[in-house]
Symmetry: C2
Subunit: 381 residues, 2 copies
Amino acid sequence: MMQRGFEPREFEQRTQAAQRMMQAAGLDALLLSTEADVRYFTGYLTRFWESPSRPWFVVVPAQGKPVAVIPSIGAALMAQTWVDDIRTWRAPDPADDGVSLLADTLNGLGARTIGTPMGYESHLRMPLADWARVQAALRGVVRDDAGIVARLRSVKSAAEVAKITQACAIAGRAFARVPQIARVGVPLSQVFRDFQRLCLEEGADWVPYLAGGAAQGGYGDVISPASDAPLVAGDVLMLDTGLVWDGYFCDFDRNFSLGPSDAQTEAAHARLIEAVDAAAHIARPGATAAQLFHAMDAIVTGGKGGSDAGRLGHGLGMQLTEGLSLIPQDHTVLEPGMVITLEPGIETGEGRMLVHEEDILITEGAAVFLSPRSGPAMVQL
Amino acid sequence: MMQRGFEPREFEQRTQAAQRMMQAAGLDALLLSTEADVRYFTGYLTRFWESPSRPWFVVVPAQGKPVAVIPSIGAALMAQTWVDDIRTWRAPDPADDGVSLLADTLNGLGARTIGTPMGYESHLRMPLADWARVQAALRGVVRDDAGIVARLRSVKSAAEVAKITQACAIAGRAFARVPQIARVGVPLSQVFRDFQRLCLEEGADWVPYLAGGAAQGGYGDVISPASDAPLVAGDVLMLDTGLVWDGYFCDFDRNFSLGPSDAQTEAAHARLIEAVDAAAHIARPGATAAQLFHAMDAIVTGGKGGSDAGRLGHGLGMQLTEGLSLIPQDHTVLEPGMVITLEPGIETGEGRMLVHEEDILITEGAAVFLSPRSGPAMVQL
């Protein structure tokens, strides 16, 4: 059985790397408030974030371990992490829901310039009214974290890669069992429920994300919940899952054909695989996100510059999507340890499309497929 | 099969109620950015929010339907809701990720005073840097929504209650099948996976939340992920689930005894049921959240004023927890249509506790249990 969690050394390295970057950026402390950012520096793993009722904070000081400023209900679990300094209040507290404890902590650390993620993909997970109160009580000022957290999280350690690999393998086994659950006449909503069951049976801790579609010759969109409409002969069924193992996601999909598919749809699917192969072929250190986009876009649109889906892949890890985007405007340079999805889509008619997605690891050499690479032909159900 | 979604009339009523309250509060528009708030006014239901990469906005103007300001990837799904005015940009766009489209929309509506949720349990789901840009581009000013959205969402319509009832019934059937999956020697992590499978088999759309614990005479906390440790004779196993049906949650737990339990643990469990009954008995219109807290606290601590868990229940609906808290400081007056959990905990030793939770509906008369009310004795496995 694979080891859960991380060695304390991993958190030490993450924290020390952040502290080096903080020093270069002139930051005395980092303030973190979201699930993934808090977990990245502490190892604090719980599904309790599903409840929006309590804010949670971690402060990374200029030196030493992170400091947790959290509701008392989380103290016992946080005490199991490598963090020593755990400050708690009994939340929810309408009079002062962690505001003064957080401000006191930052003031006590002597933090004059505090960074918090303010850029792409970030949000501050606390009420704006309380945020104003915190800022008013601070002796220091808060500004953007200079992208430090996103930058650190974008390159995965070997231990992180192992967890994503595990998640991908679990999803791969679940996809291989789709013929057991999907056939003509089964409602799509039932397929969704059964597929999540397969993911769990194959070892997923949980299945935060499942989307998909089923329609003749392609589907209309890729983010809708499942309808109760039964599968019909000739449908293309797509399932796209982000399941989690020990806090790390996979994110890839598979297309299936309900009975024989027509030549045009088969050709479109093969084109998607060709696009993935083209991007994977150039996905090496030094290549950019934009270059991967163009490699795929040339094949799926003839180079028109993308579609309304907005991108042809993205980073992946502690969140379903994180970090770079495969779009013309993203010139992020690939580095070993980055894990990304290749997710081209192709129009198959008015308002219809196919989307294919695989997960790859950037290495010193050729990219490694973490998802079990699909062949050009759809699996027929 | 129960009807999914809502009649357009439901969204009309929600919107008109908001607009009456906006007028009273001097607000020209509401700005919404989170999954539940956006869905409340539009019916936009998707698991795609799991991806943090794209912001989504809905503006409720002083009159007329809400306006959606969203990434183009969501246009097709939003077009299936009652919303007519759907404005899109191709996200992610590093140069302007919806900032100018949102500002133009609010300016175009002539909104001078804009409310957005800034209070308890809220957050703004967009990068702070972009939020500063939006505010700079607005002709109006943004302030707190005066609690309008939280107030509206706290009282459920009959159609909403039906969905929560359905979620509770599904979880009830899954809990009834726990003897099939949990016995001495089975790792807790396996029980967690299997219980989620049971929830899906019984009809859950998905299972966003599962927590629990298993230990001798009580568990140490109630938010930890499952370990791989096997169940032991004499353990109390607790499973606490928030599963979703058509976008609405249940949230309740059950305690099981692995073989016979000792008299002290049984008595503690019976005390929890007694506490729930005491709170349910007074849970009628006019009673306050604080009164329910004290009714339970008197029984579980002898009136010491609670524990580090922070509260003995909370509102429930589109989120696992939402709205009022059963704490001494919350004097929210109960109203028909509120759905709340009763969640007393009791210490059973140093660092050990039992927690029991049920879901009830406040009506004109006596509260109605939506979860299948537990008896005083734990089910023995």
